[in-house]
Symmetry: C3
Subunit: 333 residues, 3 copies
Amino acid sequence: MSLTRFMDLADFSREEVEDLIALSNHLQTHPEPQALAGKILGLVFLNPSLRTLASFQAGMARLGGNSFVITPGQGTWGLETRLGVRMDGSAAEHVREGLPVLASFCDALAIRAFADGKNLAADVADSTFKAMADLIDKPFINMESAINHPCQALADWKTLNDLEIAPRAKFVLSWVPHPRALPLAVPAAALHMAALRGHEVVVARPDGFALPEEVMARARAAAAQSGGSVTETDDQQAAMQGAHVLYAKEWGCTRHYGDAAADAALRAGLEHWQVNNDTFQGAVADCRLMHCLPVRRNVAVHEAVLDGPRSVVLKEAHNRLVVQMAVLHRLLA
Amino acid sequence: MSLTRFMDLADFSREEVEDLIALSNHLQTHPEPQALAGKILGLVFLNPSLRTLASFQAGMARLGGNSFVITPGQGTWGLETRLGVRMDGSAAEHVREGLPVLASFCDALAIRAFADGKNLAADVADSTFKAMADLIDKPFINMESAINHPCQALADWKTLNDLEIAPRAKFVLSWVPHPRALPLAVPAAALHMAALRGHEVVVARPDGFALPEEVMARARAAAAQSGGSVTETDDQQAAMQGAHVLYAKEWGCTRHYGDAAADAALRAGLEHWQVNNDTFQGAVADCRLMHCLPVRRNVAVHEAVLDGPRSVVLKEAHNRLVVQMAVLHRLLA
Amino acid sequence: MSLTRFMDLADFSREEVEDLIALSNHLQTHPEPQALAGKILGLVFLNPSLRTLASFQAGMARLGGNSFVITPGQGTWGLETRLGVRMDGSAAEHVREGLPVLASFCDALAIRAFADGKNLAADVADSTFKAMADLIDKPFINMESAINHPCQALADWKTLNDLEIAPRAKFVLSWVPHPRALPLAVPAAALHMAALRGHEVVVARPDGFALPEEVMARARAAAAQSGGSVTETDDQQAAMQGAHVLYAKEWGCTRHYGDAAADAALRAGLEHWQVNNDTFQGAVADCRLMHCLPVRRNVAVHEAVLDGPRSVVLKEAHNRLVVQMAVLHRLLA
């Protein structure tokens, strides 16, 4: 399989995903410290990062390559993404110049750009991100867009493999509390990943927080290919019956998308959606907790669970490095 | 030609400039991925950057070297540049300690420090920057000072070569609108570069925005050496007659230098200086648009020009990487 | 000597310290540009830095390794350090997840986390830092904690060696003025270092600024091992009689620790503690000035001293790079 873009896990078949993970595993046991010698990865962060920022730099270095980091608004001026606008505001440069220039300095470019959080249709269509990607004529990596996070999804898939969670196992994606609305990228990516892996997927979320129909439909189509299933419910406890994996994630109200006051009103009184030890009543004995991190302790998930044996969040995070090295190898070696 | 400082294109003859560009071209076709193995470049940014930040890191990496970035005020405290001051303000460290220390960690140091924008004579003399450079006993690079930007000038020269623009061709440096006053470094450097290359140079700028006499005189002296010419006008349309290159640039009012209110008053009503397709009436058919970037679309230059065939702004930006690799090679290999 | 942590100079005997410095000297004359090939150092800065940020990156590069920098609050969200807290504030991630994740991406992790400045007992016990270090299962480096700065202490020891200052020479650690309270890490580390090296150490500090008894006791114990001595006084001029080295440092009021108003009240009127040429009356003729930097010129130390022959502050700073290369080599080669 040749690779020029890593934009969306849905661009790949199950076999291609497993092939990337096999390469990940191979690189762990058979390091290739010169595979990307002389190659340069440009990393553009329009939003904050910890795991992604560190793991892409570390992954390039472990393969013998180099990287540079651009953080518009910090050391670099803000970048304008809207087309046709008269640029008399704070952004000094447009992505139409900035991104091709950066791409011309490196061998591959990776971009993080979160959802705007105002227009649900535009965010679900990932239109701003796709327009940015179209400006780049080099190998390209999505480090989290409005509606996708394929690096996280690939790391999560590998984590399920590592834990020997059977493809038919029950995978519960549950909404959890957070002080404010967060983007839909990770829940959408995790849902699709679990469906494509063949799981019995249940999305548990409060009323008003249903994932967009396009996201659900895409997951159902993936499940249909893989022999899995996708359902949804507003009853977290019911969802957890017989669960093998609880994937906890925070996201914003979709009924009143972009309306912070309406979101806050709906969110108040949902503290009982926090994951704690009781949440696992009815699940299988060794049901695992997954979370992409960062996680707010004692808000989204109780620390007793995070510090206990169910949690595999550190393994998931470490797998970010491992799978990204395979993606970089495929794109650049 | 041996090189220990890259401070000002005026330190070099036409032949020496062409020699650097020849090395740039050579390194593109004959990469030397180990030329700077073990060498370290320190990059100090007292002001924001995109191209310079990315291209110097990428250039060192392509030559096998390494770099580190220091951004005073972001992760590092502010640096004081004034001599003799009692340091009881916000700056915790003086350049007299900070810069020699950083230089002692690396093999070459590069600094960006924009104009203060208050005292025209001091900015034109580049006195703060020269005082900083005098503290460094290592190979040194000017990544844009109060009145100079030799890396940009060298990239622009190479761009003119790449486009096969004849040395006698008409080169118009035109002021263009911007929401606020910008420094004189790029217009001064571009003017001198074009004069030294031998062009018929016309500076078009509104009343009140004339470049300082020292800057004009230096360019006329360079033109005299090269058989070119330097004139100025406040009539952009007249300047464009027969032009082969339009170099658009924003800069601040020089008549009331450092007076933001006076600058804004003069600036209002100058929107017609924006470059659009009509600006090229009277120019040669394939007249090019150059700009150092970042450019404010639909303020300084209309997007129809930036996205059209006249624009060579991406080529200019890419040439930053290419020529800087030659400078680094000369300084460190 | 094998090494897995570089947390505190007090973990080492005099002989082990000299052994690290011997390795430093060896690496200067016998570079090992491939010693750490393929190795990655993670650098986490919870507080600003200039020397540490640049020298660790440069040191890894000179040994053939790589590094990445994480600066919580700048490009990365804030990190929570308190245990058991309900994370509904501004910090999005807890160190209990963030630090092990970062450690899992690299071969060694280094952290800077200054004192909280509120609870003297907690800061002297270095409890927050030690809790962070306990989360890391990789080689670990203290880049300055609440009460320690072993990299600075090791560089200072080497500087004293380089200057051929005899172990029995008189070493004066003097408080100097600063606009506000600074942490106790450097004075505590410098005091212990000088005592362990065997000096006649005098701590000169105004009333209200005595170093904590635990810090003094630890230094006295080190002096007892080495045949040195540790005393304290509030008379800077008396302390300087016969001094071979003046180590100037700013720190906060310990009598009213964490009380900014009380600190400011005590601090007013102590301007005469500034080091100037008169301070050296009574000292030996070639008495040296040491300071860890950054230093506020004409507040803490007069520029006539900093720019004069007594000052060895640039040598101290350069030695940061030199000794840290030995630490990295021991931890990772």
